[in-house]
């Protein structure tokens, strides 16, 4: 078979990192970093997601076609959110039209 069996310690190590990262998310949320709170929270969440996808979901060992599909999914989600936000966050930039 073409799939290599990962050692148990890899899974346990990833689990440990995920647990520590969850604790960090919880701890950092109580420190006021202004606009950086959400940035840190999402950066940790993206790191956790990458670890789960690469190791628990074995994407690291999958074919390039599967990897392409996985990346495409997240890219399209990024497009959805970014394009929606460019609209909503710039609506107030234009001068308000005169009401009749």
């Amino acid at each position: 078979m073409n799939h290599h069996v990962l050692p148990v310690r890899t899974y346990v190590l990833i689990w440990l990192i995920l647990i520590v990262a969850t604790g960090t998310t919880l701890g950092v949320a109580y420190i006021d970093l202004g606009p950086w709170n959400i940035v840190v929270a999402l950066a940790i969440a993206f790191t956790k997601m990458s670890l789960v996808v690469l190791f628990f979901m074995h994407v690291k060992q999958q074919t390039n076609l599967t990897k392409l599909f996985v990346v495409a999914g997240f890219v399209f989600l990024g497009i959805l959110i970014c394009v929606a936000m460019t609209d909503y966050s710039t609506r107030t930039w234009l001068p308000q039209g005169k009401m009749w």
Binding site: M1, L6, W15, T25, A29, L33, F56, F69, V70, F76
Partner: protein, 224 residues
């Protein structure tokens, strides 16, 4: 057109006739599952997108709801779900090496963690219900009446997003039960373990959704 008998090749009983070999079969199943998971990403993505827009519109109202969330319960649930992902990954590994009793143990552990998650989640729902925080069902927001309407938007997102997540957990528990039964009937092993792998992909995906829901819903204004 010759009359010569074609030699019959022995192949694994698990190999479907339209695949070349078991490796190709597993890769195809995996790709197919990922295509399904992409539709799930877009399903939850729509809600995450709408959440992002409303949060950018009403940041103060959304932050004011934080004191009604119970971050430590959410944190415990995140840890419970991560533990369930570990046991699921180990169940897949046990299937890869063909250890039936280990598969059973890890599947049952995964189900216990999954059930514990749902139990904590519904306890939270009950507490929110008691605190009159369910939109359009006697919603009350006396400490910040100016946010009465906007806070309900956040609670709508909260109940829909965590609700759909919980629904996925129930489906996952069903799939695990199916795997437990299948594990008794056939021998998973090096040559055939794709059902365990595929259910594993689903379970980890549901875990990833929660990894984002936890900071976004529970910890919005925890620092203020």
């Amino acid at each position: 057109m010759s009359d010569q008998a074609v030699p019959i090749e022995q192949h694994s009983p698990y190999l479907k006739h339209h695949f070349d070999d078991l490796g190709q079969q597993l890769d195809s199943s995996t790709l197919g599952m990922w295509v399904f998971l992409l539709t799930e990403i877009m399903f939850f993505g729509g809600m995450f997108g709408a959440y992002t827009i409303y949060r950018s519109m009403y940041p103060d109202a959304f932050a004011s709801t934080s004191r009604h969330m119970i971050p430590w319960l959410g944190g415990i649930n995140t840890a419970v779900l991560i533990c369930s992902s570990l046991t699921m990954a180990l169940a897949v590994r046990s299937a890869q090496i063909g250890k039936r009793s280990l598969i059973r143990i890890f599947l049952i552990l995964t189900m216990i963690f999954g059930a514990a998650f749902i139990a904590v989640k519904f306890t939270e729902y009950y507490l929110h219900w008691k605190d009159h925080l369910v939109p359009w069902a006697g919603f009350q927001y006396p400490e910040a009446p100016q946010f009465f309407h906007q806070a309900q938007i956040l609670f709508c997102f909260y109940f829909f997003m965590t609700g759909f997540h919980a629904l996925h957990m129930f489906v996952g528990l069903g799939l695990l039960t199916w795997l437990l039964i299948k594990n008794q009937r056939i021998s998973f092993g090096e040559e055939y373990y794709s059902p365990v792998e595929i259910v594993g992909l689903y379970w980890h995906f549901v875990d990833i959704v929660w990894i984002f829901l936890f900071p976004l819903l529970y910890l919005i204004g925890a620092h203020s």
